[in-house]
Symmetry: C2
Amino acid sequence: MTTAPADDTRWLTDEEQRIWRAYMHAVTLLEDHLDRQLQRDAGMPHVYYGLLVQLAEAPQRRLRMTELAMRAKITRSRLSHAVARLEKNGWVRREDCPSDKRGQLAVLTEQGYAVLSDTAPGHVAAVRQALFDRLTPEQQKSLGEIMSIIAEGLQPSEAGADLPWLR
Amino acid sequence: MTTAPADDTRWLTDEEQRIWRAYMHAVTLLEDHLDRQLQRDAGMPHVYYGLLVQLAEAPQRRLRMTELAMRAKITRSRLSHAVARLEKNGWVRREDCPSDKRGQLAVLTEQGYAVLSDTAPGHVAAVRQALFDRLTPEQQKSLGEIMSIIAEGLQPSEAGADLPWLR
């Protein structure tokens, strides 16, 4: 005879629920806010903006697609889709990787760089207004520490880890 | 003769950049992690799970669509799309609102409640493992305070505010 398994789930306490919901609300609202601002000002969602920034900061404004997916923390299929759209806008172009026949590079075009330059001030203002301007220096420091801990925990270094850009 | 406008953008400092990127990385990785876990265990993305939770907690397990959009902090069109999918799964059904002819209710079905009950332990474990288990009690408290400040700042109470569920 078997007995029903005891419920050993460590349910969230009321306080943990409040923290978790505040996190979900802030994250959902902030992403909506930044998407909205970037769609209005440049016709692109926040994730595309992040890709343009990564390319602008890279040597010769180009990165291997696999590296770009890793830096943006997204899957390769999501990146392919985004880059196809950015290519259509004339903001990015793809080139074969000279050192690896199967590899591809994403290259920021002059037009892409210009769009990014025009869009950056409004985006930075939105980030400041929604986040930095509302937090004390101690809260900002604490936020950075907490978010680094969470991000590092979700990127185990062992082989076979389920990371978006390795799928 | 006009002079070029001075660049009065308050660019992020190096430290602010680090904080902002840690935030983006943590948020992107955690959402991917929870989506992945819920897709694997129940074939639904994280946002759908959140809708089922809201309905399960409501009196008679039902909410007006507008109220559900507000609680989930999403647009009405995104909610409509999600509820259509949940309806197809047999987890939610829609009913006309008895007090308002134009209003609609989303109602959690028995099947939806059962799926939620089966899925919740795995989801809570994933949230604990990725977030609560990694943070000290002080960091958890700080995270709750910071996220509440950000969420409140993005939900101005004045009429005409650009809130997702009012679009």
